[in-house]
Every structure is written in structure tokens, then in C-alpha cells.
Symmetry: C2
Subunit: 164 residues, 2 copies
Amino acid sequence: MTKTKTPPPRAAADIEEGTAFAPKFDASGLLPVVVTSAATGEVLMLAYMNDEALARTIETGEAQFWSRSRQRLWRKGEESGNTMRVVEMRTDCDQDALWLKVEMGGAEACCHTGRKSCFYRAVPIGKGAAAGVALTFVETEKLFDPKQVYGHARAAKGTLKTLK
Amino acid sequence: MTKTKTPPPRAAADIEEGTAFAPKFDASGLLPVVVTSAATGEVLMLAYMNDEALARTIETGEAQFWSRSRQRLWRKGEESGNTMRVVEMRTDCDQDALWLKVEMGGAEACCHTGRKSCFYRAVPIGKGAAAGVALTFVETEKLFDPKQVYGHARAAKGTLKTLK
């Protein structure tokens, strides 16, 4: 059996305190990406990038992701027009997550339900167990009509969530 | 072989437009959780909860997570004193991610490196490929000394990142 050399693991100090970008993808080859609005600071969505989506985003400045359900590269807004221009990209201490601050195009609605943010419902705290708590809508306004944008059939069948 | 009844899958419309909290844990039983500062809005960290961490957080209002590297429940701040009081918890459209707005205790430093946020380095956009880009420090101030808080030996060995 031939032994092949593997690169030595990077020291934690290098990863955490260095300037070399060394994104650590998970077992599926993905990195979680927090997306916030550069204008308001609110969290718009949590999505995932593979290495290609990351490279394209860095190169073009337009956010691209990996759609886990469709198993393909996904340029945000390719169907809806709700694109994302990256104002700033940050990595975290152990480089296994990213944070994008973005300016939205189109209707400025990130969520496929038509809302600005995907996080439009609150979970009550201190009012009982996780199972059985009732969510509260904190954002109800829809900035576009998913049926118009994605087509009636897909909206009715609930397949829009595959856009995530 | 005895067949057991499995509950029917929830319709997408219920998950996305309903008020029933139905968190969708991944294959490892975890949910990604975006944590932002209630005071400044900045993203502090991305962590993970299992069902127990979620239940305890909802019950107590103090953020608890699942440490993937230690494989145990992790009450944020249990060692450092940098606890997190949950001001608001939100779930996203398909209920497979959470967003916590928190007030921090202690030194108000979320990151084990001593910094306020784990996202203290920026990745340059439009300046070359992902591999090889140099990170820029956007937050350098350390609000506590990791060596003092976690002990010299562990800080030097770089095992602090297992706190994530």
C-alpha cells in the first residue's frame, strides 16, 4: 500500500487569528451562510454554499448558493428577480460559517413566500414546552405574490420551499 | 413484521403559513441558530441546537446549544460568564433554522477568542478567487483574555474552538 502525503491540519491559531481564508465545508461540502440586510440589519435567511457558489459569489459580488433540495447551484433571484448584491462577506472564528450583508434587488423580498425576511414568525419564550407552542406572525406583509412569480401550480403544490 | 403508523407529512402551507411550531432538525438532530445582538443587530455567532437545547432555551429564556465537538449540551457562558438572555426567537419559512436576538451578560463577548462577535474577519469581494484571498480584520478588540478565562493550557493548545 502506498502512503500518500496529506497536508498537515492547520493550527487552530492560524485558522482563528490568521488572514488566510480557509473555509471549512461540512461533510456534504456545504457552508451555512447567514444573510442580513445591509440597510436594516435584519436577518433575511439562512442558506448554504458549496465551493463553487462561494467562488462565484466572491468573483461576481452577487450571492449564489447551493440548493439542497434541488441539488444545484442557485443564483438568488434567478426566478423572482430578488437578487442580492454582497456589500460585505465575513467568516467566523473557525471558518465554518459565513455572514453576508446584502442589498436586495427586485421587490426586496428575500423569502419565497413573498415576505422580506424568511424569519417572519416568533417563538414565544418562557411560555411552555417547545412542542405545542404557537408561533406569532411578526411580519405579514407580502411584497410580491408567489403565485404570480413562480406560477400557480407550484405555489399551490407547495414546491416553492424547494427553492431553499 | 409489524407496521407502525407514521404521522403524515405536514403540508408545506401549514409549515410556512401556520402557527404550529414544528422545528425540522437535520439528520444529526440539529438546527442551525443565528444569534444576533439585540442591542446592535450584529451577528454574533452561528451555533446549533438539538431538541433538548431548544426546549431548555424556550423554557428558561437563557440560550443553550449543542456542542458538536464536545457532543454535549452547552449553556452559553457556563465557563466564560458570557451568557445570553433571549429577547426574541424566530423560526424561518420551512422551520429548519432559528434566529435569536440576545442580550449578553458578562464581558458581552460572544466569541471564545475574546471578541464580541465570532465574525471578526471580512472576505474581500471581487478581488480574486476564493482560494488565496486574504482576510481583513474588522474587529480586533478583545473584551476578555481567553487564557485567563479558559486557562493557559487549553488556550495554547487551541482546544477552545471545541466550545463551538
